[in-house]
Amino acid sequence: MMRWHLCQCLLVDNSKIQFRILKETFNPYKEFELWENFNKSSANSFFIGRVRPFDQYGNDLRKLEIVHYKGMTEKYIERYLMKISRKQDNLSILLLHRIGFIYPDEPIILIAVSANHRGISNKYLQEILEFTKYKVPLWKKEWTFKGSSWVKKNTDLGFEL
Protein backbone atom coordinates (compact mmCIF):
# COMPACT_ATOMS: atom_id res chain seq x y z
CA MET A 1 0.00 0.00 0.00
CA MET A 2 2.88 2.33 0.78
CA ARG A 3 3.52 3.20 -2.84
CA TRP A 4 0.14 4.95 -2.96
CA HIS A 5 1.20 7.39 -0.32
CA LEU A 6 4.46 8.01 -2.07
CA CYS A 7 3.46 8.40 -5.70
CA GLN A 8 -0.36 8.69 -5.59
CA CYS A 9 -0.44 7.35 -9.12
CA LEU A 10 -0.20 3.88 -10.62
CA LEU A 11 0.36 3.01 -14.26
CA VAL A 12 -1.44 -0.10 -15.50
CA ASP A 13 -0.58 -0.83 -19.10
CA ASN A 14 -1.57 2.37 -20.92
CA SER A 15 -3.82 3.68 -18.18
CA LYS A 16 -3.25 5.87 -15.17
CA ILE A 17 -5.13 5.27 -11.97
CA GLN A 18 -5.05 7.28 -8.81
CA PHE A 19 -7.09 7.24 -5.60
CA ARG A 20 -7.00 8.75 -2.16
CA ILE A 21 -8.88 8.13 1.08
CA LEU A 22 -9.09 11.57 2.70
CA LYS A 23 -9.58 12.53 6.35
CA GLU A 24 -10.10 16.22 5.53
CA THR A 25 -12.37 18.05 3.10
CA PHE A 26 -11.10 18.99 -0.36
CA ASN A 27 -11.79 21.44 -3.18
CA PRO A 28 -13.23 19.38 -6.04
CA TYR A 29 -12.59 22.00 -8.77
CA LYS A 30 -8.93 22.28 -7.80
CA GLU A 31 -8.70 18.49 -7.88
CA PHE A 32 -10.31 18.32 -11.34
CA GLU A 33 -8.00 21.01 -12.66
CA LEU A 34 -4.80 19.54 -11.23
CA TRP A 35 -5.71 16.11 -12.45
CA GLU A 36 -7.02 17.06 -15.89
CA ASN A 37 -3.89 19.16 -16.56
CA PHE A 38 -2.05 15.86 -16.84
CA ASN A 39 -4.91 13.79 -18.23
CA LYS A 40 -6.51 15.84 -21.01
CA SER A 41 -8.48 13.61 -23.32
CA SER A 42 -11.27 14.24 -25.77
CA ALA A 43 -13.81 12.91 -23.24
CA ASN A 44 -13.64 13.81 -19.55
CA SER A 45 -16.42 12.83 -17.14
CA PHE A 46 -16.64 13.98 -13.54
CA PHE A 47 -18.86 13.38 -10.53
CA ILE A 48 -19.11 15.08 -7.16
CA GLY A 49 -21.27 13.49 -4.47
CA ARG A 50 -22.18 15.79 -1.59
CA VAL A 51 -23.72 15.17 1.82
CA ARG A 52 -27.50 15.65 1.82
CA PRO A 53 -28.82 17.97 4.56
CA PHE A 54 -31.16 15.28 5.92
CA ASP A 55 -30.85 11.70 7.15
CA GLN A 56 -32.49 8.48 5.85
CA TYR A 57 -35.64 9.26 7.89
CA GLY A 58 -35.91 12.85 6.67
CA ASN A 59 -34.56 14.55 9.82
CA ASP A 60 -32.11 17.44 9.66
CA LEU A 61 -28.59 16.07 9.45
CA ARG A 62 -25.83 17.48 11.65
CA LYS A 63 -22.99 15.49 10.13
CA LEU A 64 -22.22 12.24 8.33
CA GLU A 65 -19.53 9.86 9.53
CA ILE A 66 -17.76 7.52 7.17
CA VAL A 67 -15.75 4.59 8.54
CA HIS A 68 -13.38 2.43 6.53
CA TYR A 69 -11.40 -0.76 7.23
CA LYS A 70 -7.86 0.53 6.89
CA GLY A 71 -5.87 -1.60 4.46
CA MET A 72 -8.78 -3.64 3.15
CA THR A 73 -10.66 -0.62 1.78
CA GLU A 74 -7.59 0.55 -0.13
CA LYS A 75 -6.86 -2.98 -1.37
CA TYR A 76 -10.38 -3.44 -2.80
CA ILE A 77 -10.34 -0.05 -4.52
CA GLU A 78 -6.89 -0.62 -6.00
CA ARG A 79 -7.75 -4.09 -7.27
CA TYR A 80 -10.96 -2.90 -8.91
CA LEU A 81 -9.39 0.12 -10.59
CA MET A 82 -6.55 -2.04 -11.88
CA LYS A 83 -9.08 -4.51 -13.27
CA ILE A 84 -10.96 -1.91 -15.30
CA SER A 85 -7.70 -0.30 -16.45
CA ARG A 86 -6.70 -3.65 -17.91
CA LYS A 87 -10.08 -4.04 -19.64
CA GLN A 88 -9.93 -0.59 -21.25
CA ASP A 89 -6.88 1.07 -22.73
CA ASN A 90 -6.01 4.76 -22.40
CA LEU A 91 -8.16 5.37 -19.38
CA SER A 92 -7.25 7.84 -16.64
CA ILE A 93 -9.07 7.54 -13.35
CA LEU A 94 -9.09 9.67 -10.22
CA LEU A 95 -11.11 8.58 -7.19
CA LEU A 96 -11.25 10.52 -3.92
CA HIS A 97 -13.34 9.33 -0.98
CA ARG A 98 -13.78 11.04 2.37
CA ILE A 99 -13.75 9.28 5.73
CA GLY A 100 -14.41 10.79 9.17
CA PHE A 101 -16.96 13.52 9.83
CA ILE A 102 -18.46 15.29 6.79
CA TYR A 103 -20.93 18.15 7.03
CA PRO A 104 -23.98 18.88 4.82
CA ASP A 105 -23.02 20.03 1.30
CA GLU A 106 -19.39 18.95 1.72
CA PRO A 107 -18.07 16.51 -0.92
CA ILE A 108 -17.90 12.82 0.05
CA ILE A 109 -16.76 11.43 -3.27
CA LEU A 110 -15.11 12.71 -6.42
CA ILE A 111 -14.60 10.64 -9.56
CA ALA A 112 -12.89 11.74 -12.76
CA VAL A 113 -12.47 9.53 -15.83
CA SER A 114 -10.75 10.50 -19.09
CA ALA A 115 -10.96 8.45 -22.27
CA ASN A 116 -10.88 8.78 -26.04
CA HIS A 117 -14.67 8.53 -26.33
CA ARG A 118 -17.54 10.01 -24.37
CA GLY A 119 -19.32 6.66 -24.06
CA ILE A 120 -16.28 5.13 -22.36
CA SER A 121 -15.64 7.95 -19.87
CA ASN A 122 -19.32 8.07 -18.88
CA LYS A 123 -19.64 4.30 -18.64
CA TYR A 124 -16.65 3.81 -16.33
CA LEU A 125 -17.53 6.83 -14.23
CA GLN A 126 -20.89 5.23 -13.46
CA GLU A 127 -19.36 1.80 -12.88
CA ILE A 128 -16.85 3.21 -10.41
CA LEU A 129 -19.59 5.14 -8.60
CA GLU A 130 -21.76 2.03 -8.16
CA PHE A 131 -18.68 0.08 -7.10
CA THR A 132 -17.91 2.53 -4.27
CA LYS A 133 -21.51 2.25 -3.05
CA TYR A 134 -21.79 -1.54 -2.96
CA LYS A 135 -18.38 -3.21 -3.15
CA VAL A 136 -15.99 -1.14 -1.03
CA PRO A 137 -15.66 -1.58 2.77
CA LEU A 138 -17.11 1.82 3.77
CA TRP A 139 -19.92 2.53 6.20
CA LYS A 140 -22.04 5.60 6.86
CA LYS A 141 -23.37 6.82 10.18
CA GLU A 142 -25.77 9.72 10.33
CA TRP A 143 -25.62 12.20 13.21
CA THR A 144 -28.73 14.31 13.78
CA PHE A 145 -29.45 16.65 16.68
CA LYS A 146 -31.13 13.75 18.48
CA GLY A 147 -28.48 11.05 18.13
CA SER A 148 -26.76 8.85 15.59
CA SER A 149 -27.60 5.79 13.52
CA TRP A 150 -25.85 3.60 10.98
CA VAL A 151 -27.14 3.72 7.44
CA LYS A 152 -28.71 0.33 6.66
CA LYS A 153 -29.19 0.62 2.93
CA ASN A 154 -27.71 2.63 0.10
CA THR A 155 -29.71 5.32 -1.64
CA ASP A 156 -30.88 4.17 -5.05
CA LEU A 157 -30.19 5.68 -8.45
CA GLY A 158 -33.30 7.86 -8.26
CA PHE A 159 -35.32 6.23 -11.04
CA GLU A 160 -36.49 2.85 -12.29
CA LEU A 161 -34.10 1.24 -14.75
Binding site: Y69, H97, I109, E130, T132, L138, W150
Partner: protein, 83 residues
Protein backbone atom coordinates in the same frame (compact mmCIF):
# COMPACT_ATOMS: atom_id res chain seq x y z
CA UNK B 1 5.52 -29.53 18.33
CA UNK B 2 3.16 -26.56 18.30
CA UNK B 3 4.99 -24.80 21.10
CA UNK B 4 6.95 -22.49 18.77
CA UNK B 5 3.91 -21.59 16.69
CA UNK B 6 1.62 -18.68 17.53
CA UNK B 7 -1.92 -19.70 18.15
CA UNK B 8 -3.29 -16.22 18.35
CA UNK B 9 -5.70 -14.52 15.93
CA UNK B 10 -6.79 -10.95 15.65
CA UNK B 11 -10.53 -10.28 15.49
CA UNK B 12 -11.70 -6.98 14.00
CA UNK B 13 -15.24 -5.61 14.17
CA UNK B 14 -16.45 -2.78 11.97
CA UNK B 15 -19.27 -0.25 11.91
CA UNK B 16 -22.51 -1.22 13.71
CA UNK B 17 -21.12 -4.62 14.76
CA UNK B 18 -18.29 -2.90 16.69
CA UNK B 19 -20.81 -0.55 18.24
CA UNK B 20 -23.28 -3.31 19.17
CA UNK B 21 -20.64 -5.56 20.74
CA UNK B 22 -18.77 -2.66 22.31
CA UNK B 23 -15.25 -3.27 20.95
CA UNK B 24 -13.19 -2.90 17.75
CA UNK B 25 -10.29 -5.34 18.01
CA UNK B 26 -9.31 -8.29 20.18
CA UNK B 27 -6.47 -10.79 20.14
CA UNK B 28 -7.83 -14.29 20.81
CA UNK B 29 -6.00 -17.51 21.49
CA UNK B 30 -7.40 -20.35 19.42
CA UNK B 31 -7.36 -23.90 20.70
CA UNK B 32 -9.05 -25.72 17.88
CA UNK B 33 -6.82 -26.19 14.84
CA UNK B 34 -9.83 -26.54 12.54
CA UNK B 35 -11.58 -23.39 13.72
CA UNK B 36 -13.91 -21.69 11.23
CA UNK B 37 -14.96 -18.06 10.94
CA UNK B 38 -18.37 -19.19 12.13
CA UNK B 39 -16.95 -20.63 15.37
CA UNK B 40 -15.13 -17.33 16.05
CA UNK B 41 -18.40 -15.51 15.46
CA UNK B 42 -20.16 -17.75 18.01
CA UNK B 43 -17.30 -17.25 20.44
CA UNK B 44 -17.46 -13.46 20.44
CA UNK B 45 -21.15 -12.89 19.94
CA UNK B 46 -24.22 -14.23 21.68
CA UNK B 47 -26.76 -11.70 20.56
CA UNK B 48 -26.37 -10.48 16.97
CA UNK B 49 -28.01 -12.38 14.10
CA UNK B 50 -25.69 -13.79 11.47
CA UNK B 51 -27.69 -12.36 8.53
CA UNK B 52 -26.08 -9.99 6.05
CA UNK B 53 -22.70 -10.13 7.72
CA UNK B 54 -19.61 -9.85 5.55
CA UNK B 55 -16.56 -11.72 6.86
CA UNK B 56 -12.92 -11.52 5.87
CA UNK B 57 -9.69 -13.33 6.63
CA UNK B 58 -6.56 -11.21 6.21
CA UNK B 59 -8.63 -8.52 4.50
CA UNK B 60 -10.00 -10.84 1.83
CA UNK B 61 -13.76 -11.43 1.82
CA UNK B 62 -14.59 -15.07 2.54
CA UNK B 63 -17.46 -17.02 4.11
CA UNK B 64 -18.41 -18.34 7.54
CA UNK B 65 -17.14 -21.85 6.70
CA UNK B 66 -13.54 -20.74 5.99
CA UNK B 67 -10.82 -22.23 8.22
CA UNK B 68 -8.71 -19.87 10.30
CA UNK B 69 -4.96 -20.24 10.71
CA UNK B 70 -2.77 -18.85 13.51
CA UNK B 71 -1.90 -15.14 13.04
CA UNK B 72 -4.89 -14.56 10.80
CA UNK B 73 -6.89 -11.36 11.02
CA UNK B 74 -10.61 -12.17 11.00
CA UNK B 75 -13.14 -9.36 10.52
CA UNK B 76 -16.92 -9.09 10.82
CA UNK B 77 -18.70 -6.23 9.11
CA UNK B 78 -22.19 -5.23 7.98
CA UNK B 79 -23.16 -4.60 4.33
CA UNK B 80 -21.20 -1.73 2.79
CA UNK B 81 -22.96 1.63 2.56
CA UNK B 82 -20.30 3.94 1.16
CA UNK B 83 -20.04 6.13 -1.90
Amino acid sequence: MKGEKSNKIKVVLLSSIAQDLGWNEKILTIEDSEMTVFSVWNLINSKLPQDNIIVSINQEITDMKAIINPDDEVAFMPMFTGG
